[in-house]
Point group: C2
Chain length 208, copies 2
């Protein structure tokens, strides 16, 4: 028998007012890879972090530090409106992005990545209701209005909220293979939108 | 101007090894009703509760007590395998179900509801990979193998994991109206499976 595969190491950036589905939709999908996911919840200060929806989650480590991550997951949520102005947080985020093997921004998490300069000269997308505001955070970013998610090198960004799940399965296909994404979607009883170009919400919001 | 509507009161039953998407998928959808959702995270003992996927969430109140809930949300997850044997927990769950205006079980959360006798004589569904085990927890339940979710009176139960989001939008349509479910799905950039009978996963698992 071959040895059990090592877990993938996923770090999640938490801040007050993060969106719960931005975080836990992708984590659900990533946790089912062979070997599972070793998930580290990171925040400026460890402890209980209140989501935008109310429930609190435990950040078990400080964002600053060496985490050796395969994936750094950056959610959105109403708290991003405040965090784009938090320069020490943005500086540390930039440092963490440079160290992670792959960076994944969900929804308005793209605003944080844009402020950190991580998306400069890259293609990226974000929430379709907050598109104008997010785009204003990164004038040097090649913003893609119509996309479920966008891959550019090792930087993945998704549309709003639910789109993070489709992107996460895209990341599984990128790191492993498509058959595994299909298998994980079946386990989660999830209908994967496998086509990155599928985006009825761009049209709904006058962006396409 | 009409006064702001009151928030709906949602209680979530947490236990070690709950599934994260079972909890946060439905909460995402419910949090967008007019007036929002006042969410109470409940566990036998308040404090940090580790999910099956790893991250911990804060239970801010004891399950025992008077919570005046509009919706009692009961997630599944690997921890259900243990909790079906935890009689004091099952007894308190039965008491809480009797007091809530509406009960919503997600995935293997149906096993807990079945053990609590809440589903006896009712139609219900559950995760399609764990169907046999869950059904064995409730011999007096009318188990429906092929359904995205099932409504029977004030008891809603869904298929596995992701199906909780579709059920939650069904609950919004039940408590408010369909237009609101459609609006919330659009905000979450979510493609709602509005048809309760849509269930490719029953077939995939030899149940239909």
């Amino acid at each position: 028998m071959s040895p059990s595969p090592a877990p993938i190491k996923v770090g999640v950036v938490l801040f007050a007012g993060f969106n719960v589905l931005d975080v836990f939709g992708p984590l659900e999908m990533l946790s089912w890879v062979p070997g599972g996911a070793e998930i580290r919840m990171l925040a400026e200060e460890p402890g209980n972090i209140a989501s935008g929806e109310g429930p609190g989650c435990l950040a078990d480590a400080a964002l600053g530090g060496e985490h050796g991550l395969d994936i750094l997951l950056v959610p959105g949520g109403m708290g991003t409106r405040r965090e784009v102005q938090n320069q020490p947080f943005i500086d540390e985020l930039a440092r963490q992005c440079a160290q992670a093997r792959l960076v994944a921004g969900v929804c308005t998490g793209s605003a944080l990545l844009a402020r950190a300069g991580v998306l400069d000269g890259r293609r990226a997308t974000t929430n379709k209701r907050a598109f104008g505001w997010v785009a204003s955070q990164g004038p040097k970013v090649d913003w893609v209005a119509e996309a479920r998610w966008v891959e550019d090198g090792n930087i993945f960004t998704s549309s709003g909220v639910s789109a993070g799940m489709d992107m996460a399965l895209g990341i599984v296909a990128h790191l492993f293979d498509r058959a595994m994404s299909v298998e994980i979607a079946a386990r989660a009883e999830y209908e994967w939108h496998e086509d990155k170009a599928w985006d009825p919400f761009a049209k709904l919001n006058g962006l396409a």
